[in-house]
Each structure stands twice: as structure tokens, then as C-alpha cells.
């Protein structure tokens, strides 16, 4: 194996390389963390996409350096790509069907199902308007949001 042969000579460089990868991984983790606590989360889709990209980058680093795939021959593609594609396929195929189920909830289910938190947010709005005497109904804000 190539890594074994080269490892003998440049052990130091290898260690250095691993430490560099380590630093990169820590940095990427920090990025995810910062994004999660940043205003970017307002547009959730974008934030999620960035975080997933960051995760993929981390995965790539781990696979290619720590798992030595960088130094392996072409078999690595045969072994890794089908599984990754297949797993993606599974998720992608499920999303339009199962992932959008809430659109087809029956009335009976809505009786028990959890509701969008817009309604929850109304509590605060309603509270704000209700600093007066009695709890004021939410109608106004409710009809706004729908």
C-alpha cells in the first residue's frame, strides 16, 4: 500500500497533515455552530444547506485522510459511491411522499396533531396586546396569520 510505503519516510509530515486536518475539522464544526446561532437561521433552508455542505466537507476530510482513501486506488470509488448514492436516493424518494404528509392530514388527525408554531407565536402577540385587564382573544392576529 502506498501509504505504508510513504509513511515510513515522512512520518513527521503525515502527523503534521493529520493535525492540519484536525484543525480544519474543528474549524468547520465551529462554522456550523456559529451559523446555527446566527441570523442566517432566519432563512432556514439556506442555513441547513450550508450546514450540510459543511458536514459533507468534514466527512470528505475524514474519509480521505483519516480513512486513507486519498491514498487508495480506484476501488474506493466502487465501494463508496454506490452506497452514498443509494442512501441519498432513499431519502430523496421519501421526501415527496412521506415528508409532505402534513398536507394530507385528515380532519380527525388535526384534532390531535401538533400545530404549526405560528399559533404558538400568537401567544406572545396576544399577550402583548393584552396587557390590559383580561386575556384578549387571539382572533385578530389569528386571522392575520391565515
Amino acid at each position: 500500500m502506498v501509504s505504508e510505503a510513504s509513511g515510513q519516510q515522512d512520518h513527521k509530515t503525515n502527523t503534521k497533515l493529520f493535525l492540519k486536518v484536525f484543525a480544519a475539522l474543528c474549524f468547520l464544526t465551529a462554522i456550523s455552530f456559529v451559523i446555527a446561532n446566527s441570523p442566517l437561521m432566519k432563512s432556514q433552508g439556506l442555513a441547513w444547506a450550508v450546514m450540510m455542505l459543511v458536514s459533507c466537507a468534514k466527512a470528505f476530510l475524514v474519509i480521505s485522510f483519516f480513512m486513507h482513501l486519498k491514498w487508495e486506488r480506484t476501488w474506493k470509488y466502487v465501494l463508496t459511491i454506490p452506497a452514498s448514492l443509494m442512501s441519498l436516493l432513499l431519502v430523496v424518494a421519501l421526501i415527496p411522499d412521506v415528508g409532505r404528509r402534513a398536507e394530507n392530514y385528515s380532519d380527525q388527525r388535526w384534532l390531535h396533531a401538533t400545530e404549526p408554531s405560528e399559533v404558538k407565536a400568537d401567544l406572545s402577540r396576544e399577550d402583548a396586546s393584552a396587557t390590559g385587564d383580561e386575556p384578549v382573544p387571539v382572533d385578530s392576529s389569528e386571522s392575520d396569520s391565515h
Binding site: 424518494a93 421519501l94 411522499d97 412521506v98 404528509r101 388527525r109 396533531a113
Partner: protein, 583 residues
């Protein structure tokens, strides 16, 4: 010479009787263990099927002999018991007969022998893959004896029925045991498949390139890949269903269900998620159940028509195509399940595509027989029987692939006809043929050809008589899994035809006694054979019959493809892949 011999011997067996014959690491012993276990389970599964048929022909009547075995009231089959019968029939036939017999028994026996290896890459793992089946055997066996009626939500175990005890009061603990049992089957299959893949990739004899592999090995290889990729998804689903049942989570349960004795379920889940996870495995599982059969049939057909397999490479590519497409067609089991109809269209198209490689295979088999010097041996007859049945099963599949037609025939007996033609007419017939074919290699003796032909004749006719009329039942709209359809006006006329089918099924069951007698009798009284009784080309016939530990007594060097029959340049009509050194 003695020390390496000892060293190698320890690779296959632990000393002592137990180590030799029970906890052996020799792939041949393990294969035989799989073979015997699955044959026994096959008897159980068959009897369950007969009980199902009995109920359909003479509903609610006392069942002879077996009625006493089940405590059902006075030997009658109760509806709860009936649901258990077909659930267990399917479970046993799929997970304990066909898959382990193909992959476990024949995979184990043939892979090392046909590629010229002394054993599997990991003999201990191989042994474990058999013994991990035993917890599954015990769990499934135990589920018969739990309170209630055994698992009774169908082999597909669709939630919420399979999760809510109140919805299927007969199931109870048995359903949990069923899930656990299948988990063990999954672990066993996973162990087996990584082992097979490693062996086929790394342990081929010199000269045995991938394009010189016999079709059997190709199909086993692809099957192993299918198992490795598809099964974990089912395992994940099984764990989720287990936790729904045992811990009260709600992965597959929607809110506000009325069927749980008033106990509120956690909710938030999606019943359809299970169906997706389940079919993501179980559709490829259909190919796991047919591909190795196809591979073995290819070998048998080529051997007995004394003719090279027609279009070897297209055959290989179509196996790969079937496997590849097999992963993107699972939704065709769910056309009317409430799945997004647009998603249904994409699944329909991929399903139609899969008929293509299957068609190529069928025509290539026909072309292999064409202008061949056909030897009418029992294995050949079974293989042609397979071909004849597979054509019917394949063609009826087109009805289901057409989504609008599927609206009408989904979950009717048309489906039952279709998959029995593929799985019984296809896989089981091919398996019987394979047993006749490789029996001399396994046990060093021939099975009786005369009995074998009688067995084939009756089996073939009766199989058609049992399953062909199911198409007509399906066209009449008769739903499957009905204990008694005759109170529906529309299905009241179905009784006589069901009775014909049941009588045929019982006779079919009796016919298998011929096979059992032949199988057991030949173990002791069969004609002893040499290495290559069928004059076949593939490598296993170059090894002694039966092969000892380490399989080969010489170093096989492969110099040609597996199907060099009737080569005009040769004196004899076969050219083995590797020359056996003169004794």
C-alpha cells in the same frame, strides 16, 4: 507435509465431532446445514400453505389430522388463525426457505468450489452466519406457541395493524418475536453477504477473471450486493417497529387512532414510512429470491443442452441491470397505498424497464436450448420448468406494472398468482433442479433419475393446476388474505375452482414425498459417482465428490470460460475450465 495439513485443517474445523459436523467452519458443512434446515422449514411452510388452501376450499370445516394439532375450536380454522397461517407461510417461505436455501445452502456450497477457493474468506464468520439463524429459528418457532395465534399482520407487517396490540389481539408477543426473528435473519444475511463478496472479489483461482465466472457465481455476487445494501434499511425499520411495539414510540403511528383500547399512542408517525422502508428491502429481496435461481438455471441449461450459454455477457449485464433497477422500483408495491400518484408514475416507468433485462434473459435461455443436444435429465427438466413458469410469472408482472390495471388487481389473487409463479414455479423449481444437479457433488452419490422424473412430471402439472387458476380468481376481483370470500355475492362462484386448486395443492404436497424419499434414500443407496458425472465444465466438477476440507487436491488454473460445450475442436463435447492433472 503434516504440519501445514494440521494448520489448514484447523482453519475449517475444531477438533472433535461437534467441531467437525456441528460447529464446523467448512463451507460445505455449513452449506449442508443450511440445506437441511431450510428443507425442514420448507415442510413447515408447505403445511401452512395447505392449511390455507383447506380453509379456502372447505371454509370452517374440520380439518383432518392437522386440525388436532392446532387447538382451534374442534379442528376448525378460525379467522384469527387463518391470518396467522398465511403470515407465517410467507415469512417462513421467504426468510427461512428460499433466501437461506439459495444464498445459504447453494451460495455456501458453490461459491468457493466454482471460483477455485479452498473455503470462504472468513470461515468463522461463515459459521456464525449459520448459527445466528438459530435464534431466528427459535424465535419464529416460539411465536407459534405464544398466547393467541402467532404473528398475524401479514408478512409485510404493515403498521398500525402490526403495532397496535388492540388491533390484532391474536398477535401479541408473537409479533414482537417475529420482528426479533427477522432482525437475526438480517444479521445472518449481512454476515453472509460481506463474506461472499470478499470471497468472490479476492479468492478467485488464477485465470478466473470476472468474465469467466459461471452465471451462478455472478448471480450470487449480485445477490450479495443487493442484500448488503438493502437489508440494513429493513433492519432500521424493524428496530423502529420494535420500539413502537415495545416502548410505545410512534414512528409509524399517526395521532388520534381509535384502536388502542383507549390508550393514547405517541403519534406523529407515518404509516407509509414503514411501507417505504419495508419495500426498499423487500423488493430487492424478490431479486435475492430469483437471481441465484436464474444463475443456477443458466448453468444447468448450458450443461444439458451441451451448448455454450447464449450471450454470456448480456446475461451478466442483465443481472446487473435487474439488480440496479431493483433498487428504484420498490414503489410499485405501493401504487394504491396512498403514495403520491406522481411518484407512482416514476416507479411505474422504472418497473417497466425491469421487464427488459428479464426478457433478455428469457430469450437467451431459449436460444441456449435452440439447436442444442438436449439431455433430458431431471435437473434440465426442472430448469425448463423454471423457464416455462418464469415466463408466466414475468408476463403477469406486466399487468401489475401498468398502474391503472394495478388499481383493479392489486391485492387480489392475480398478485398471488404472479408471485407464486415467480417464487414457487421459479425459485423452488430451480432449487429442486439445483439439488438434483449438485447432489452428486455434495454427497458423492446420484439421486434416482427415474424417481426424479416422476417427481418433476407431477410437480410441474400440479403446480400449474394450483397456481394458474389464481389468475382467474384475481380477474374476478377476489382479494387475497380472505378467510372466507363466499359470503360476498361477487365471489360466491369461486368455490369450485378453489376446491380444484386445493386438491391439486394437497397432491402437490404428497408429490414431494417422492422427492424426500429420493433425497434420503440416495444418501445411502445412490449410485456412487466420480468427479464429473454430468460432464460439466465448471470448476466444482474438477474437485473430488464430495470434496474434502480445502476442496481441491490440485491447484486449479482456469484457462477458459465456463460454457465451452460442444467445441468443434475438441474430441469430447465439453472443455472443463481447468484441466485436472492426471491422477
Amino acid at each position: 507435509m503434516s504440519s501445514p495439513q494440521n494448520a489448514t485443517a484447523s482453519r475449517w474445523s475444531i477438533p472433535g465431532f461437534l467441531g467437525h459436523y456441528v460447529f464446523s467452519r467448512d463451507h460445505k458443512i455449513i452449506g449442508t446445514q443450511f440445506l437441511f434446515s431450510t428443507l425442514i422449514w420448507g415442510v413447515a411452510g408447505g403445511l401452512l400453505a395447505l392449511a390455507v388452501r383447506w380453509q379456502l376450499a372447505w371454509p370452517w370445516s374440520d380439518m383432518p389430522i392437522f386440525g388436532r394439532l392446532f387447538e382451534a375450536e374442534g379442528g376448525q380454522i378460525s379467522p384469527e388463525f387463518y391470518t396467522m397461517l398465511f403470515t407465517m407461510h410467507a415469512t417462513i417461505m421467504i426468510f427461512f426457505v428460499i433466501i437461506p436455501m439459495l444464498a445459504g445452502a447453494f451460495g455456501n456450497w458453490l461459491i468457493p468450489l466454482m471460483i477455485g477457493a479452498d473455503d470462504m474468506a472468513f470461515p468463522t464468520l461463515n459459521m456464525l452466519s449459520y448459527w445466528i439463524m438459530w435464534p431466528a429459528f427459535i424465535l419464529i418457532g416460539a411465536s407459534f406457541f405464544t398466547a393467541g395465534y402467532g404473528p398475524s399482520s401479514g408478512w409485510t407487517a404493515y403498521p398500525p395493524l402490526s403495532v397496535l396490540d388492540a388491533a390484532a389481539p391474536g398477535s401479541g408477543v408473537a409479533q414482537t418475536l417475529w420482528i426479533l426473528g427477522l432482525t437475526f435473519v438480517g444479521i445472518s444475511s449481512m454476515m453472509g453477504s460481506v463474506n461472499y463478496m470478499t470471497t468472490i472479489i479476492q479468492m478467485r483461482a488464477p485465470g478466473m477473471t470476472m468474465m469467466r465466472l459461471p452465471m451462478t457465481i455472478w448471480s450470487m455476487f449480485i445477490t450479495a450486493i443487493l442484500q448488503a445494501f438493502a437489508l440494513p434499511v429493513l433492519t432500521a425499520g424493524l428496530f423502529m417497529q420494535l420500539s413502537d411495539r415495545v416502548f410505545g414510540t410512534g414512528f409509524f403511528l399517526p395521532e388520534g387512532l381509535a384502536a388502542n383500547n383507549g390508550i393514547q399512542v405517541a403519534g406523529g408517525g407515518q404509516p407509509l414510512l414503514w411501507q417505504h422502508l419495508f419495500w426498499f428491502y423487500s423488493h430487492p429481496a424478490v431479486y435475492i429470491m430469483i437471481l441465484p435461481a436464474m444463475g443456477m438455471v443458466s448453468d444447468i441449461l448450458a450443461c444439458f443442452s451441451r451448448k455454450p450459454l447464449f450471450g454470456y455477457k448480456p446475461m451478466v449485464y442483465s443481472i446487473c441491470a435487474i439488480a440496479g433497477l431493483g433498487f428504484i422500483v420498490w414503489g410499485h408495491h405501493m401504487f394504491i397505498s396512498g403514495m403520491d400518484p406522481i411518484l407512482g408514475v416514476s416507479f411505474m416507468i422504472s418497473t417497466m424497464l425491469i421487464a427488459l433485462p428479464s426478457g433478455v434473459k428469457t430469450f437467451n435461455w431459449l436460444a441456449t436450448l435452440w439447436r442444442g443436444n438436449v439431455q433430458f435429465t431431471t435437473p434440465l427438466l426442472f430448469s425448463v420448468g423454471f423457464l416455462s413458469m418464469f415466463i408466466i410469472g414475468g408476463l403477469s408482472g406486466i399487468f401489475m406494472a401498468a398502474t391503472p390495471v394495478d388499481i383493479y388487481i392489486h391485492d387480489t389473487y392475480f398478485i398471488v398468482a404472479h408471485f407464486h409463479y415467480v417464487l414457487f414455479g421459479g425459485s423452488i423449481l430451480a432449487l429442486l433442479g439445483a439439488i438434483y444437479f449438485w447432489y452428486p457433488k455434495m454427497f458423492g452419490r446420484m439421486m434416482s433419475e427415474r424417481l426424479g422424473k416422476v417427481h418433476f412430471f407431477l410437480t410441474f402439472i400440479l403446480t400449474n393446476m394450483v397456481f394458474y387458476p389464481m389468475h382467474i380468481l384475481g380477474a374476478a376481483g377476489f382479494p387475497r388474505r380472505y378467510a372466507d370470500p363466499y359470503h360476498f355475492q361477487a365471489f360466491a362462484d369461486l368455490l369450485p375452482i378453489n376446491q380444484v386448486m386445493t386438491v391439486s395443492a394437497i397432491l402437490l404436497g404428497f408429490t414431494q414425498i417422492i422427492f424426500a424419499a429420493n433425497f434420503v434414500g440416495s444418501l445411502f443407496f445412490g449410485k456412487k459417482v466420480g468427479r464429473n458425472p454430468w460432464q460439466a465444465n465448471t470448476l466444482e466438477w474438477a474437485a473430488p465428490s464430495p470434496p474434502g476440507h480445502g476442496n481441491f487436491d490440485f491447484q486449479p488454473v482456469v484457462c477458459r470460460g465456463p460454457y465451452e460445450y460442444s467445441c468443434p475442436d475438441a474430441d469430447v463435447d465439453f472443455l472443463p475450465q481447468a484441466e485436472t492433472p492426471p491422477a
